[in-house]
């Protein structure tokens, strides 16, 4: 769980998005939807670790795809080849926990990724590919720069951008037509997930993000609201999630 790995590369893909590979022991195992919690600094600023979905994982390495949005991600972007990264993980459950091969056989499997939500969906897409399970990927972002087609080569993908600079123009969710045989796996901004809640489908499975203190289930900071009849419960994104049945979640 407590791990250290050497940076293999930390490539800048566009203005703000980086692609980082970490060498890990061969014994390291992770599932799509899981994340790692990285110590980005040896100082007290930033103080807390930063969580990132696993973008890709094969024997001996894990990749993450991240956007520089603040000080923590800026610090991460300064890491160089051979630097040692201290991280906790893999953390959380997996899309795979919600995947029932027999039950899903005759259904249309849709993967929906918004922005950096592409990271965990990408890992899951590779998992499906390896299992030779057919799926369609819906991939949306602000503009062409934030779409990483190079990672979609082997996928049946539909792309949409807010400004139409790549693929269709508009919100990716507006290009999804669901029905009772559709199964959606999604990850992206809360607004996207909220929209998907109203798309018709057999099942909708979503990976959530939230502000995290420990990523270890103890601080109770990362909670989201889960439907419980007239009541609601708080569930920890880092422990009960990050992957939930989307219909169970109350998105505010």
């Amino acid at each position: 769980m407590l791990n250290q790995g050497k940076v293999v590369f930390n490539r800048k893909l566009n203005n703000t998005i980086y692609y980082l590979r970490i060498k890990v022991p061969i014994s390291f195992k992770a599932q799509p939807g899981q994340f790692i919690n990285i110590k980005v600094s040896d100082d007290y600023v930033p103080l807390l670790r930063r969580p990132f979905s696993i973008f890709n994982h094969e024997r001996g390495f894990i990749d993450i795809l991240y956007k520089v949005v603040g000080n923590g991600t800026k610090k991460l972007s300064n890491k160089k080849r051979e630097d040692i990264l201290d991280f906790i993980g893999p953390v959380g459950n997996s899309y795979v926990d919600f995947f029932y091969e027999d039950e899903f056989k005759e259904k249309n499997i849709y993967l929906v990724a918004g922005g950096t939500g592409f990271a965990s969906i990408h890992f899951f897409a590779r998992w499906l590919l390896r299992k030779k399970i057919k799926f369609k990927l819906f991939y949306g972002a602000k503009n062409k720069k934030e779409i990483f087609q190079r990672f979609c080569k082997n996928f049946d993908v539909l792309i949409a951008t807010d400004d139409g600079s790549c693929g269709k123009k508009g919100l990716i969710t507006s290009f999804i037509n669901g029905d009772k045989d559709t199964i959606i796996f999604c990850c992206g901004p809360q607004t996207m997930l909220k929209t998907i809640q109203s798309i018709k489908a057999y099942k909708k499975i979503a990976s959530f993000e939230s502000y995290m203190g420990c990523a270890n289930g103890v601080c109770l900071s990362c909670v989201i609201k889960i439907n419980k009849g007239k009541e609601f419960d708080y569930a920890r994104v880092c422990k009960e999630g990050t992957v939930f049945d989307l219909d169970d979640v109350i998105i505010i």
């Binding site: 110590k39 502000y211 103890v218 601080c219 900071s221 909670v223 708080y234």
Partner: protein, 306 residues
């Protein structure tokens, strides 16, 4: 060599194998750390604050990072004392580490009821949280209310045989006065400090970052404040003082012990490095050995003035 070094300390009737405890709310109910290290190594485990009935807590966003610190407004989400006793306590028993239950009540009676329930268990002690800054409704700031504190301690003391620790905050009133008051009322120890009331605003939305508006500041940022409080209170009371606030490593722990703390609690640091507690225990032993100090009790209050 290490064997000859004593790192046991005493908090009331309670003997701790070392002075390092986990701070309430930062270590869950302990079990989440089983995967990181042997919980038997800890001086004591202090649970997340427990109330009579389960509490849902505040809506998110519940935490935000600040310079060298963090604000939290969890709102004391917990599973309730009975669930703790039935679900968690049995799993903790196998470790030879005293379990101390942090208790939070909305009313005076709730503290007493929870203490009554704990009387029949083998938890080693209770820590009364009378200083949580994060509860809105019914969130009495007991920390400033001497009469309420007296009632709580007196009535618990009557029945409760084990160690009573009272957790104090620097938010309201005079923390030294309150510590003296707790000692008089029969507390076995005081722990300080709880988090300090703070706040952050998102200038883009103009909204408070935390749904609860206010949160409690913890982490290295508050260490100097906590240390001053521990030093001042230690000079005023005879019961042990437990130091907490921004301890990240053994050096910080030493500062607190030199200032007068008999034991320390480690909070926020558990989020950043889950091994902090065991590292501090090991490093304290190493420090003592290096400096040929054969009893950690010699460090307590060892600060040199003038």
């Amino acid at each position: 060599m290490t064997n000859k070094i004593n790192i046991q300390v005493k908090i009331g009737k309670l003997i701790l194998k070392n002075p390092v405890m986990t701070a309430s709310g930062t270590f869950g109910y302990g079990l989440e750390f089983e995967k990181f290290f042997d919980l038997g190594k800890l001086g004591a485990i202090i649970t997340k604050g427990l109330s009579l009935n389960p509490v849902k807590g505040n809506p998110p966003q519940r935490i935000v990072e600040t310079p060298a610190g963090m604000l939290n407004a969890i709102g004391l989400q917990n599973i309730g004392i009975k669930n703790f006793i039935s679900e968690k306590l049995p799993l903790l028993k196998k470790y030879k580490t005293p379990i101390i239950v942090n208790v939070y009540g909305r009313k005076v009676d709730e503290y007493i009821e929870v203490a009554d329930i704990l009387n029949d268990t083998d938890v080693a002690g209770i820590e009364l949280n009378i200083s949580c800054p994060n509860v809105k409704r019914g969130g009495l700031q007991f920390a400033a209310d001497k009469k309420a504190v007296e009632k709580i301690i007196n009535r618990i003391r009557k029945k409760y045989k084990k160690t009573i620790i009272v957790k104090l905050s620097p938010n309201t009133g005079n923390i030294e006065d309150m510590a003296i008051h707790c000692e008089r009322c029969g507390a076995d120890a005081v722990s300080l400090i709880n988090t300090i009331v703070g706040m952050a605003i998102d200038i883009k939305t103009k909204k408070p970052v935390l749904a609860n508006v206010f949160g409690g500041l913890s982490g290295p940022a508050i260490k100097p404040i906590a240390l001053a409080a521990v030093f001042k209170v230690s000079k005023k009371v005879k019961i042990p003082v437990i130091g907490v606030g921004g301890i990240m490593n053994y050096k910080d722990a030493l500062e607190f012990m030199m200032a007068g703390a008999t034991a320390v609690q480690i909070g926020t640091a558990n989020f950043i490095d889950p091994l902090t507690c065991v590292k501090v225990i090991k490093d304290l032993q190493y420090y003592l050995k290096e400096n040929k100090i054969y009893d950690i009790n010699k460090i307590i209050g060892a600060i040199k003035l003038e």
